[in-house]
């Protein structure tokens, strides 16, 4: 049996090899092993979306995927998307629209919004709401988040 697994992956463009306990999930791996603490941990059973991470181009629940399963994958976190400026416009608009207060949920919303706008560049407000339905925000009441995503979609289309 393998209680510990050797994994090699790229995280935010950097090649990384580590030996991890089999039960370590991906979000704990990036937070504790790599000290990338922008991805948050809320419910640990898939409900809140605070742990959203991008694996091989698609968002996943970091709490429901094992680090061992990311072996060979391309992993991107909020830190990577920030540094590459891929979502600078979303970050600025969240700020301007008051789409965050405590900010706990924000990394998850930003990654989710980015996947939405990649798949559907001109979403309706309803489509935005459906797409972010898997992310909880306890502060804002969502309205401002939908506003921010809608504004960025319009700007990107110009």
């Amino acid at each position: 049996m393998n209680d510990n697994i050797n994994i090699s992956l790229t995280v935010n463009g950097q090649k990384i090899s580590r030996n991890v306990a089999a039960r370590t999930n991906l979000v704990d791996f990036v937070r504790y092993e790599l000290e990338l603490t922008g991805s948050h941990v809320g419910c640990e059973h898939g409900v809140c979306g605070a742990c959203t991470i991008r694996v091989d181009g698609s968002i996943v629940r970091g709490c429901l995927m094992l680090a061992a399963q990311a072996d060979g994958s391309k992993v991107e976190t909020i830190e990577g998307l920030s540094d590459s400026n891929e979502i600078t416009d979303l970050q600025n608009e969240f700020h301007n629209s008051n789409a965050l207060q405590c900010g706990f949920c924000t990394p998850g919303f930003l990654l989710t919004a980015q996947e939405l706008l990649e798949n559907n560049p001109s979403p309706s407000r309803n489509e935005i709401r459906e797409f972010i339905s898997g992310n909880y925000c306890r502060c804002t009441g969502y309205q401002a988040i939908v506003d921010a995503i809608e504004k960025v979609a319009k700007k990107r289309n110009n």
């Binding site: 049996m1 393998n2 209680d3 697994i5 306990a21 089999a22 039960r23 999930n25 704990d28 640990e44 059973h45 898939g46 979306g49 959203t52 698609s58 968002i59 996943v60 629940r61 709490c63 429901l64 995927m65 094992l66 061992a68 399963q69 072996d71 989710t112 996947e115 939405l116 709401r129 459906e130 797409f131 339905s133 898997g134 992310n135």
Partner: protein, 284 residues
């Protein structure tokens, strides 16, 4: 909460997966998308010693047309099924149901086979499989058997899957020219498990129902077919009396439970509401 410690092995082939199942028996669990299993581990509702990851087994995520059926590999992820043009064309009821399954990040990992194996009574795909008269292809070291959906779901999270079997594919008969379908679900939040839902398909020619299949989820300890309602509809038109008789018959087939969403009586009421809306949509 964190999951208890366990070991992990990635199976590269079905053969290797069967070897590992033999070796570890009851202590092992198959890991597909992990979107139900990891959640139950983190809540410490189950404590397997070892997870056998089947995600890297090649070729098990394909969606292929095979004469009069469409074959979906057990490892096809919800997002892949949702984006498949063949599914849209040949099994549109599946396409209609998919956006209701969880949320994008979960659909990016969760698999069709995992949903069937997990058999949540409030899940969409088990009921859709009943309405489509789909079959599940189950493989063990001893061979392959194909089981109709109606013989698969036995009770609360209980299925006919044997300990040494893996679901390898789902076979769905393609929709016929004179068939129509409808899907409705009530939930508190988009993507949540259903309070109650219905998946329906059947023949509607010159306004007459025949060979209808009405399958419900969130309506009992497993996905359920409303056979009494189906018998009433056979050969009939969409009239107020027929719909009333159908609605009244539902309590013979459905057996919803009280839960956080509300009492069983409320769910029976909602079942009648979505049934009449569904039949109106199908006959329109």
């Amino acid at each position: 909460m964190k999951s208890p410690p366990f070991s992990y092995i990635r199976a590269e082939s079905l053969e290797q997966a069967f070897d590992l199942i033999d070796q570890y028996g009851e202590e092992a669990r198959i890991l597909a998308g992990g979107q139900s299993l990891m959640a139950t581990l983190n809540m410490r509702l189950s404590t397997p010693k070892i997870l056998i990851d089947i995600n890297k087994i090649g070729g098990m995520d394909q969606i292929k047309l095979d004469n009069d059926k469409i074959v979906v590999g057990a490892l096809a992820r919800h997002t892949k099924v949702a984006n498949s043009s063949d599914i849209k064309k040949y099994a549109p009821l599946v396409s209609k149901a998919l956006p209701h399954i969880a949320h994008q990040a979960i659909r990016n990992r969760g698999t069709f086979g995992g949903s069937i194996a997990f058999a949540d009574p409030a899940a969409e795909l088990p009921a859709v499989s009943l309405a489509l008269e789909a079959s599940f292809v189950l493989q063990s070291r001893n061979g392959i058997r194909t089981l109709p959906a109606k013989d698969f779901f036995l009770g609360l999270f209980d299925t006919a899957l044997k300990k040494d079997e893996i679901i390898i594919a789902i076979e769905i008969p393609i929709i016929k020219d004179d068939e129509n379908y409808s899907f409705m679900e009530l939930s508190r939040r988009q993507g949540d498990y259903a309070i109650i839902g219905i998946a329906a398909q059947g023949n509607i020619k010159s306004g007459i129902f025949s060979n209808m299949r009405l399958a419900y989820f969130g309506a009992g300890d497993r996905p359920l077919i409303a056979q009494n309602a189906i018998n009433i509809l056979e050969g009939e038109r969409h009239t107020a009396e027929v719909i009333k008789a159908v609605e009244e018959s539902l309590s013979l087939d459905l057996d919803p439970m009280d839960d956080l969403n509300g009492p069983a009586s409320m769910k029976m009421h909602l079942a009648r509401v979505i049934t009449s809306r569904t039949l109106a949509e199908i006959s329109a």
